[in-house]
């Protein structure tokens, strides 16, 4: 197991290089960084532009440019943002922290509720509870996050204020303007709506996965064997059913990290939540190459990381899988 992890980590380095090269290419072609720089700084001197090209690795030769960028990135000489004032690392660090907080809150809430709902639905297939959970999940996956975000904002901020005098949950930011220091309660209040939006997606997806996976398991012969031992129904379900049902769910979970991050990006933007999503959409809109590339590296690395985690937990759950 340990050796497998080491080898996977070693393999992730060339993968990371290859994917960042592709991302570099796509951004060079798609956003034309030099043009963006000229647009944002119309009065920049020729020397300034040349300096921007040099530090960012924007050489006309893509391969040469990529390696210049890579060298600067690895040695920690990250050029400042397109407007020349903002340091990239502090901005990226804050965005990461905020997103990690929102993302993990939503994931924990979503997966716990989702799996639980899926189990409840699978225990009595076709029953009233199953129909209710299944239909809700269906609505959940059919409503894109920006729609639920808008409707929730409309309800909890605008109309709540109209009807009851005060808004229940704030709809933007992490703290009210001018707030300094750490305040857990205030933070949770600000996080409530965005967490709910992302969690709805996760609950809907996972309750469906869990339901169908557990239904397959419940019909299997080894569940009958377990029952024939005369152990309690609860033990049959937890010890024999759950672990087997989780195996396919975990596989799908790895593929799902992308869509969760996608939901986060959309949600953050609507709630002006200063995380990775807001960071991305802003810098992408401005063609801010120095901000975009490190962001991409973080995303690619975390995608690879979660894939590894999923593979490990898959092998841990299912003894038939050999990690070679």
């Amino acid at each position: 197991m340990f050796r497998y992890i080491l080898r996977r980590l070693a393999w992730s380095i060339p993968t990371l290089l290859l994917v960042t090269f592709l991302v570099y290419l796509a951004l060079r072609i798609g956003t034309d960084p030099v043009q963006s720089y000229r647009r944002v700084n119309p009065r920049a001197s020729r020397a300034k532009i040349q300096q921007y090209i040099d530090v960012n690795g924007l050489d006309p030769n893509f391969v040469k440019g990529y390696f210049t960028w890579l060298k600067n990135f690895l040695t920690g000489e990250w050029p400042p943002s397109i407007k020349g004032r903002r340091e990239v690392w502090p901005a990226l660090k804050d965005a990461m922290a905020n997103t990690l907080r929102l993302g993990s809150a939503a994931t924990v809430v979503g997966i716990v509720i989702g799996l639980f709902a899926g189990v409840l639905a699978a225990l009595r297939p076709g029953g009233r509870r199953d129909v209710f959970i299944n239909t809700s999940a269906f609505v959940g996956i059919s409503v894109p996050p920006f729609i639920s975000a808008i409707l929730l904002q409309l309800l909890f901020a605008v109309y709540w204020q109209k009807w009851f005098g005060a808004s229940l949950f704030p709809t933007s930011g992490v703290y009210p303007a001018g707030h300094t220091g750490f305040d857990l309660f205030l933070m949770l209040k600000f996080m409530a709506l965005p967490t709910l939006v992302v969690a709805i997606q996760i609950i809907a997806t996972y309750s469906r996965y869990m339901r169908s996976s557990l239904l397959d398991v419940l019909n299997s012969d080894y569940m009958r064997t377990a029952r024939s031992k005369g152990i309690s129904e609860r033990r049959v379900l937890i010890k024999h059913g759950m672990r087997n049902a989780l195996i396919p769910v975990v596989t799908i979970a790895a593929l799902d990290v992308g869509s969760i991050v996608g939901g986060l990006i959309i949600t953050e933007n609507i709630f002006s939540y200063p995380g990775m999503g807001l960071y991305f959409l802003k810098s992408f809109g401005e063609g801010d190459f120095p901000l975009l590339m490190p962001w991409m590296v973080v995303i690619v690395a975390s995608v690879l990381f979660f894939n590894l985690i999923a593979d490990i937990s898959y092998a841990w759950l299912d003894p038939r899988i050999r990690l070679e």
Partner: protein, 293 residues
């Protein structure tokens, strides 16, 4: 058998009616819409009127009838959904069938590429690929301008094949081992013949399911892009569901609820209906269920 199972799915039958009604409404837009797409309902002051007699669903910032604009918008969105789904399903079915049938290197590379794309945050990939596609001069004759409806269709078309390819590949892999394919191979049928005559026809069920889900995917993606200002921006006040939903963003803070609620509801109803149809199709064409009922 399959048809009977589909009909027994009540929500799907209802959804078929909803979609058929919507389709009829938007095809007959000249008759069903009350105003032109860019026409004001009355002389100023006419902006942000709440729902009333001459504007059933209210008006927008420059006094246009939301009901009529919804009809035009849904028309564009359904067109985008159908056209791009057709492209992506055709591409995906072909690539998936070849990858599944040939196996080997081609299969490996294809599946690696789709894995990579599917693992990445969808919106990020979509935005980046959109920009790259728009920046390639040799794609111009196919894609048209970057803010045109045609561009969006091509973009979703070449973007959506991956999910379909995975499904068809899985189907082909399991069909490949079946007796009738073995038999065809044994009598010396060519590879192309086997794919065209045996594998694809037997994958019609999953392909139909993929098609319905591609339509929803494209409609939602269009709305998402438009919501963030990267969607089609055809001139002359032309609109789409995404553009209308995008306006809702501003409407939230000001409290013009109808601008947010009706486009959102339209999108939810469409997505839900097509999803129900796809779900019922999947159940109806699932051969595993044939033995049971």
């Amino acid at each position: 058998m399959a048809f009977r199972r589909f009909v027994s799915h009540k929500a799907a039958v209802g959804s078929c009616f909803v979609i058929a009604t919507l389709a009829l409404f938007v095809v007959l837009a000249p008759f069903t819409a009350r105003y032109g797409v860019n026409q004001s309902v009355q002389a100023p002051p006419n902006s942000f009127l709440s729902p009333r007699g001459n504007a059933w669903l209210g008006t927008d910032d420059i006094g246009r009838d939301l009901y009529s604009r919804l009809i035009y918008g849904v028309r564009v969105s359904l067109l985008i959904g159908l056209a791009s789904a057709l492209i992506s399903v055709t591409l995906g079915a072909l690539i998936g069938a070849i990858a599944g049938f040939r196996g080997g290197k081609f299969d490996d590379i294809m599946m690696r590429v789709t894995d990579l794309f599917l693992a990445f945050p969808f919106l990020v990939t979509l935005l980046v690929v959109r920009n790259v596609l728009g920046a390639l001069p040799w794609m111009k004759p196919i894609t048209g301008e970057m803010n045109s409806v045609r561009f969006i269709i091509v973009l979703f078309g070449i973007f959506g094949w991956m999910g379909v390819a995975r499904i068809v590949r899985g189907q082909v892999l399991s069909l490949k081992e079946r007796e009738f394919v073995e038999a065809a191979r044994a009598v010396g049928a060519s590879r192309r013949y086997i794919i065209a005559r045996h594998l694809l026809p037997n994958s019609v069920g999953p392909i139909m399911v993929a098609l319905t889900f591609s339509v929803v995917g494209a409609i939602i993606s269009e709305s998402t892009l438009a919501f963030f200002g990267y969607g089609p921006q055809a001139g002359d006040g032309a609109t789409s569901l995404g553009i209308l939903v995008g306006q809702a963003k501003g409407a939230v803070q000001t409290g013009f609820w109808w601008l947010a609620v009706f486009p959102c509801l339209a999108l939810i109803v469409i997505a839900l209906s097509i999803n129900f149809i796809g779900d019922a199709l999947r159940d109806a064409t699932d051969p595993r269920l044939d033995r049971g009922a």
